[in-house]
Amino acid sequence: MNRFARLSQLLSPLVAVAAAFLVGGLVVTAIGENPFRIYAILFRGAFGSIDAIGLVLFNAVPLIFAGLAVAFAFRAGLFNIGGEGQLYVGAFVCTLAGLALGGLPAVLLIPLLILASAAGGAVWAAVPGLLKARFGVHEVINTIMMNFIAVGLTSYFIINMLREPGQMTPQTSEIALAGHLPRLAGPLSRIGIPLPQANPLNFSLVLALAAVWLAWYILYRTNLGYEIRAVGMNSQAAEYAGINVRRTIVLAMLLSGAFAGLVATNEVMGFRHRFLDNFSSGLGFMGIAVALLGKNTPLGVLLAALLFGVLNTGALEVDIFTDVPRELILVLQAITIILVVVGNEVFARRAAAREGRAAGVPLPATEPSREA
C-alpha cells in the first residue's frame, strides 16, 4: 500500500549521502585536489586497519547516544536541541560520583555511574520538559538556554573548585579505577581480533548498542512508547484517547535526556576517566544531524552515527596526508544533512502528489474524499 513511501524512506538517505560525496568531490576539485585521491585516503583512514575501524566505532559511540536523544524526543513531537547541555551534566554528575564513591567495588560502581550519567542528563532535560508541559513554552528555546547554563556551570566548577591539584588543564582528577569501563582491546584479541591495546574503544559501545535496542523497545513495545508516538503525531487525538499529554511530554524529555547523559559512559568512564572542560565540542549538536540522517529511528541513528564515525576518523588522515583541510568533512556532513532534509521534502511531495493532494496540507475534515 505505502510501499513507495517506505522505500523512499530507506532510499533518500542513501541517495543524499551519494550526492553529498559528489558535491564534496566538486569542492575538492575546486581547491585543486583530486577527489578520488582524497576519498581513497579518507576511506583508508577509516577502514585501513583494525585500529582504524576501532576508532570509527569509538567516534560513533557518543553520536549514537546523542542521536538517540534527539530521535527519541522527536517521536514525542519535541525538538531536543539540548543534548549538549544534557551530556555535560550527565558527565559532570558521573564524574562527581566517580570521585566520591571510590570505595565501592566495580560491580557496584560501574552500574551506579551509568545511572548517574543518565540521571544527570534526564534532570537537565526534564526542566524544559516541565516548562513545556506546564506553561507551553517551546522546548527549543529552553533546551538551548539550558545548554549555555550547563556549559557555563560545569566550566565554573571544574576551573574553580574541582580542578586537579597542581594542573593547569581545566580538568578534574581521575575517577576511581573501579569506575573505569574496560577497553575492548583485551576481550577482542582473545577472540582473534587484534585491536591494539592503545585503541580507546571500550564497553560503552555495548551500552550504545543496548541503548539503540532499548529506545526501539520502549517506542514500539511498551504502553509508554505508544503514548509517546501518539502525542508526537497528534496530541489532540492522544488527549481524546485519555493519554496524559503533559506527563508523556515530561517522560519523553526525561528519557531523551538520559540517552544524552549516557555519552558520559564513553567520554568519562571509558576514555578520559575525568571531566575535561569543554570536552564535547558539539557532540550534542552532531546528534541532531545524526537523528535527521537516521530518520529519527533507533536503527537509523545507529547507521548514521557509524557513517559520521567513518567521516570523522577518515578526516584525520585527510588532514595529515593532504592539503585538504579536515573541515572538508564538516562540509560533507553538512551537505549530506541538507540533501537528506531536502530529499525528505521532495519525496513527501511526490508521495502526496501521487495520492492526488497537495503536500503538507492536511486533509480537511469536511471533505475526507481523497478523490483518487
Binding site: 511498551t222 489532540q236 487525538a237 485519555g242 492526488g356
Partner: protein, 527 residues
Amino acid sequence: MSERHAVQMRGITKRYPRALANDRVDLDVEEGEIHAIVGENGAGKSTIMKVLYGLTPPDGGEILLWGRELSGHRPADAIREGVGMVHQHFMLVDTLTVAENVVLGAEPVRGCCLFDAAASRERVRQLSSEYGLSLDPDELIENLSVGLEQRVEIVKVLYRGAKILILDEPTGVLTPQEVRELFVILRALRDAGRTIIFITHKLEEVLELADRITVMRDGRVAGVVSAAATTKEELARIMVGRDVLLRVTKEQARLGEPVLQVSRLSAVGRKGSHVLEGIDLEVRSGEVLGVAGVQGNGQTELVEVITGLRKASAGSVTVSGRETTNRSPRQVRDLGVAHIPEDRQARGLVLGFTMAENLVLGRHHREPFSSRGLLSLGDIRTHAERLIEEHDLRPRDPDVDAGHLSGGNQQKLIVAREFDGGPALLVASQPTRGVDIGAIEFVHTSLLKMRDQGAAILLISAELTEIMTLSDRIAVMYGGKIVAEFEGGRVGEEELGVAMTGGAGPTARGSVSSDGAPGSRHATGAR
C-alpha cells in the same frame, strides 16, 4: 435556457497511482443552467472540477469552453476564459474588509500605483446589490457569519468576471436558512445568464436547485438526468449502484435508567465568555437524545466537557450515577463512555498509526491490549482483524497507516472502535459528516442497534434530517444554552430551524431563552 454549451469536457482521464480518478469523463454544461455534479466520496467529482479549473492537468481528453478549446491547463487560463471557483474552504483574510478581500490580487489602481479603495468599495456594492447579496463592503471578514463569508467568495469570483461559477460543496457549513438564501442567489445568477456548476452529495439540494444532474460513480459518469424527471431514490441508486435505504426505521425506544445526567453545566471560553450556560440534559439507557443547533453554539464545548476534554466552570456531569465533572478523559472513558469526535482527523485518529494501533486508541492501556506496561501486539492484531472483518473496513490490512484510508473508512474505523466493548454512553458528534450515502446508512443502523442494546446515545449533528430520523428526543442549542426541547417525531424541520437561530420554540422545560447569544459568531450573522 440556451442550447449553447458553456462547458464541454470530452473523455477526461486522470490517473493517480492507486486509482483512476476520472475515466473518460464527458461533461456537458449548457449556458445559463445550474448543473449539479453528485457522487460519493472518491467518485471523481472534485477531480473533474480541478481539471476544469486548471488545478490538475488531465492525462487525456479535451476541454471546450463555448466551443473553443481551452488553451493551457493552469487556473490563470481558466480564469481568463471566465471560469471561477468558490472553494469549500474559504480563502479570506480575516482582518481585512469585504471590499479589500474581494479585490485582493486584482486591486483597482489609481494613478501609477495607489490602491483605489473607493473604486473597490463601489464595485463590491454594485455586485452585491445586483444579485441581492446584502454585503457591506466595509465590514471586516471576522465579523461575518459563515454564510456571508461564502457570499464574499462568490463576489470575489464575480469581480474577476466569471461567467461559469464552480461551487464545491457550498452548503456543508450553512444553516437551513442560509442554504435557502444561497439558492435564491444562485438562481438570480443563473437568471442573469451565468452558468453554475454545483458539487454536492446532498440529494435534496440537487433536486431543489439543479436543472440537470451529472451523477458520477467510481471515476465515471454513471448517468445524466434532468432534475425534474428524477427522484431521490433514483439518484441514490445511480450514485451507489444499488438500492439504498435513505431513511432508517426505528422501533419505539425502551427506556432504562438515566446514564448521562448533566445539570446546570457552564463552561468558559478562551476569551472569558460563557460558551456553555446552565445546561441541563439527561440521556437514559436505550434512548437517543439529539442535539440540534447551528455550528458554534456550544455543541462542541458540551461534548468536550462531557468527555473530559474541557473543564466545566460550574454544574455537574454524572455517568451511570458516578460524578465525572472535570475528570480526566481517561477516567471518563474507563466509565464506559465512547466518543465519536466531530473532527475525526484532528481528534479521532493518529494518521501515522496503523489501523491496528488506531483500533485500540483509548483502550491501549487496558487488558488485553497491554499488561504491566507492555503492549500485547498479538491481541492488538487479533482485535484489529476482528473489527476489520465485522465492519468491512478497507483495506483489509491491519498494518496500513490510517492516513491511507479513504474518508469513509476512517470514519468507519472510529465507529468500529467506539462501538466495540459495549459502551454505556456513546457521544456521537457529527457521525456522518462527509461520509458516503452507503456508509451513512451503516452508521445510522449501527447507532440504533446500540440504542436497542441499551446504550445511551447523545447525538450531535448539524444535519437536521439525521437528528430527526434518529432521535427519541431533540434538544436545540443556541448561544451556549438549551433553548428548546422536543419529542422526536413531533417536530418539523421548520420549527427546529427557528429554534436553532434563537427564535422561540415550544419547550419541555418552560423556559425559553432566546436572549443573549454570547460569542456566537455564526448565529449573529444568520438573519
